[in-house]
Amino acid sequence: MVTLPSVKLWIVDSGAYTRSLLLDRLSLLAGCSVHEYAAWTTIELGSLNEAPSVLLLNHYVNDAPPFDFLQQVKRVAPYSLVVVIGSPGAPHRALEEFNKAHACIDMIFDKPIDLEKLGGYLSERIVLLRKQQLLNQEHLDLLRFLPSAALQRIFSQPSPGKAELFDMTVMFTDIRDSTQLIVRESARHYFAKLNRVLASQARLIRLYEGMVVKTTGDGLLAVFEGAARCHLALKCAHAIQSSFEAQSTPVGIGISDGLVLTGILGTTEHLHFDVIGSHVHLAARLCSQAVAGEILATCDVATKARFNFQTQATPDSIVVRGFAEAVPCIHIKI
């Protein structure tokens, strides 16, 4: 049985009596952790993790206008559900005018407060939010394959925008001459072939304890972590180039190793793991220069790998855009 994640619901209400009524009713909603605030002016919204999934603001005409706060909530957590309870007439029209310009409010309820109607609406929306959050978590789970203990920490508590430095071996793969293949075989046929090739690569990356970060059109970006990461990455690249799929659909592979920034990007509605840094850029450039059937790795990777390829390996020095000096590399042909 799948357990849906819990969502944060904030009640902001300067009236103690109505706040307690809302708290009593909404505490009954399943899958919610409910927090109450007497005034939005006391709330600090630094990051998405601090923001609510659902904000319920009971606005009084004598309160300070909440427009800046509502905009801030949507800026920090664009997919949060913002519900405002306002007085009918001019206050309601003011909220609608503001919403026309800024689209920060998802629903406006008029006073007097109908607790059943409000509770029913929130209950339905919260079920959808929880399902969406579960889908996002499953999406991350599918991507991660076999992350190391260190990376598992990032995945188990996704904190969008927070980056960590890791020593990683970065590998890019890319199908050579894909444009010609599309023209020759039809786009539909090529798409099916691309799926087979990438699935085969992903299986090998998992076998060699790497992690697919993302697909990149005609290839993949993968990372390897840990003491023998260069060894495993080069063995993996070797296995990819020796595979049946690579024989029929040639690929080029670029590999680099060093510190990269890793983290989760996006919002609670769409999260993905990514890596950035000069070594990611370098591996991508090496991949673009690798000919069909070739692994182009930095000499640093080859040295650290301590792996006898028993294939043709040619040292080279390659000028890479963005790097001041030529990068010592090794061409490995299978």
């Binding site: 076998l207 003491a227 060894h231 301590r306 792996f307």
Partner: protein, 101 residues
């Protein structure tokens, strides 16, 4: 750095863990590769000051000690699991469960 196992032998041990579920000796082998890299890095790191030299020597010496301890650990583990020490082949009894992907 003195060693009981060559790079190729470590690689061979890791290869077998990639096929079968018994990955513990391979875990040790991977850390040995890491320690060899660490030792070499310290050997080749630039000494700009006297302190740099002391730091690099200290790390290299401890990497060497850790390497010797883990190599001995690997040797004993392989013997406990009854690997063929000449070919470094995993015994058939441990090869029963191919890794699933």
């Amino acid at each position: 750095m003195d060693s009981q196992f060559s790079d190729q032998q470590l690689s061979h041990i890791i290869d077998q863990s990639l096929i079968y579920q018994c990955a513990c000796p391979a875990q040790v082998a991977k850390h040995l590769i890491g320690l060899r890299d660490l030792y070499e890095y310290q050997q080749n790191c630039i000494n700009q000051t006297a302190t740099d030299k002391v730091v690099h020597e200290r790390i290299a010496a401890d990497a060497q000690r850790a390497h010797a301890a883990l190599e001995e650990c690997l040797r004993e583990v392989l013997m406990i699991e009854q690997w063929d020490m000449a070919t470094l082949t995993m015994p058939a009894s441990l090869q029963k469960t191919p890794r699933s992907f």
